[in-house]
């Protein structure tokens, strides 16, 4: 993928409500801002990858958006890997460019929070048949069971998980547009917040919202951005299961496989990364990914978190825009946060929270309950 780059980005503010603006409207806004950031005119865009939003879920979304934006495309599709969709778009776009299908691919996500009712009806049959009748409240209940099992096997403690939310809140306070960017958190605040699914507290669970984000993947020789383009050094994808109970050990995720592939392709290892942006629907997801991407040994995630400063100015800058836990989770657009923030840091455009001398970063997306995993290794 060395002949392709990430040439632009866009990210809307997280909104508790987008008023009467639909997901289609947000998609158009992200497309306009991403294309402008990459220095591209409408007629130069010839690729489009999106995630089907919950708001207005239907068939033919890429066609609808292409029609709305009056695009003339050589490559367009939906990437349907839940929270891993955004990271999954980036390597697909690069592969399509390298195959000669197109030169500039908009990789976009946007969604409007419409309540959980509609989402429920979109769940796979197996989940409706074997999980919902028991009040399993997926995905909350399942991530809680991953956390419980991790505590059982490795002695991980609630305050260690809580620290992830605390450090990410500090990051959100330096991030314009974050949903929870105004008030710091303490470990006690997290542990005293209402229990949702034991052992996960309210402040360890993402808050759904509306928003959108995207990047532009371009042929290196055609990139026009005023910003230094970002190289895609490695990508890895792995999965899958629908119910995590089918994993032999639910404390080990497919991210081990996706990360191994991505780092091998890049010729780098986890320790070489200057920033880590890891999908964080729950605190436990970050802990599992820290282990599975190789930042620490399996079972050592709790000690790693306790022993490192995960803030943007700390010794292990992680989820530097606050992540979904503090920026907000705009439906399927939440998975673009790790991608956009990695690109922003590597472009040197992170403002107040810029990590000094950041030259390499890992962006990781996770869909379902640790089911669909995509790792990207990026560099400036």
């Amino acid at each position: 993928m060395r002949s392709t780059v990430i040439s632009g980005l866009a990210e809307l503010s997280a909104m508790k409500s987008s008023g009467d603006v639909t997901a289609l409207g947000l998609y158009c806004q992200v497309a306009r801002e991403a294309a402008a950031d990459a220095g591209l005119e409408r007629g130069e865009i010839d690729g489009l990858l999106i995630h089907t939003p919950f708001d207005g879920f239907s068939l033919y979304w890429p066609t609808v958006l292409a029609d709305t934006l009056n695009l003339k495309l050589g490559f367009f599709d939906v990437v349907e890997l839940g929270g891993a969709s955004a990271a999954g778009m980036v390597w697909r776009a690069a592969a399509a460019i390298e195959a000669g299908l197109c030169n500039h691919v908009l990789c976009l996500t946007a969604d409007v929070f419409t309540g959980l009712g509609g989402v429920r009806d979109l769940m796979p049959g197996q989940r409706q048949e074997y999980e919902m009748p028991y009040g399993a409240s997926p995905p909350n209940g399942y991530y809680a069971m991953v956390a419980r099992r991790h505590m059982h096997q490795y002695g991980t403690r609630p305050e260690q998980l809580a620290k992830i939310a605390v450090d990410q809140r500090t990051n959100a306070m330096a991030t314009p547009g974050a949903l929870f960017g105004s008030k710091p958190l303490t470990i006690d605040d997290v542990l005293n917040s209402p229990m949702v699914c034991d052992p996960l507290h309210l402040f360890e669970v993402v808050s759904p919202c509306s928003g959108g984000a995207g990047v532009v993947v371009s042929r290196r020789s055609a990139a026009k951005s005023a910003h230094a383009p970002i190289s895609i050094l490695g990508a890895g994808e792995a999965g899958s299961h629908l119910n995590i109970a089918r994993r032999p050990d639910i404390t080990h995720s497919w991210a081990q496989d996706s990360a191994a592939k991505a780092f091998a392709m890049a010729g780098l290892k986890a320790a070489d990364m200057d920033v880590a942006q890891l999908y964080d629907c729950y605190t436990i997801a970050v802990l599992i990914l820290l282990e599975d991407l190789g930042f620490c040994a399996k079972g050592q995630g709790g000690a790693f978190v306790a022993g490192h400063d995960l803030t943007w100015s700390g010794d292990f800058p992680c989820n530097t825009s606050g992540g979904q836990l503090s920026y907000g989770q705009p439906g399927g657009a939440g998975g673009m946060i790790p991608v956009v923030e990695t690109v922003r840091q590597l472009m040197g455009r992170a403002g107040e929270r810029q990590v000094l001398n950041a030259s390499k970063g890992v962006a990781h997306g996770n869909g379902g309950v640790m089911a669909d995993e995509v790792t990207l290794v990026l560099a400036n």
Binding site: E129, S137, G141, H152, V196
Partner: protein
């Protein structure tokens, strides 16, 4: 009697025998005649060898808690009045794991590796849910 307000399974061609078994008080697992592996949930083929020569076998109904959570804030329709309740992944002695509820004990008595046995809990005339309770000592 009030109508049942919680989500109910809608048995399919592949899962109907499981729910018919539950109604009779039997925990059935789909087993592969070609390779002998048992699986849950049921599907059109064996996940291991892709054979469609599948049959249903009665399981012991015994197993142990692999992991669990106590739900205090539910997002599942109809469960708001039930919190706190225990959701668990139970590993059956035959191997497959099932998502279920642990009943018959206080929620704070639920532990990983606790031995449990199936209890068949009618939800409606047609559907009986398979829950688990601590095995008698």
């Amino acid at each position: 009697m009030d109508p049942y307000a919680k989500p109910l399974p809608r048995p399919s061609r592949y899962s109907a025998p499981f729910w018919q078994g539950a109604r009779r008080g039997e925990l059935l697992l789909q087993s592969c005649k070609a390779c002998g592996v048992s699986q849950h949930p049921a599907g059109p083929v064996c996940r291991d060898c892709w054979s469609d020569r599948l049959e249903w076998r009665a399981a012991s109904g015994k197993g142990k808690v692999y992991s669990y959570t106590i739900v205090h804030r539910t997002t599942t329709q109809g469960f708001a009045g039930e919190t706190p309740y225990a959701v668990a992944i139970v590993e059956l002695d035959e191997g497959p794991r099932v998502t279920t509820n642990i009943t018959g004990c206080p929620v704070d008595a639920v532990k990983i590796d606790m031995r449990v046995r199936a209890v068949f809990t009618p939800a409606t005339d047609e559907i009986t849910l398979v829950k688990f309770a601590p095995e008698p000592a």
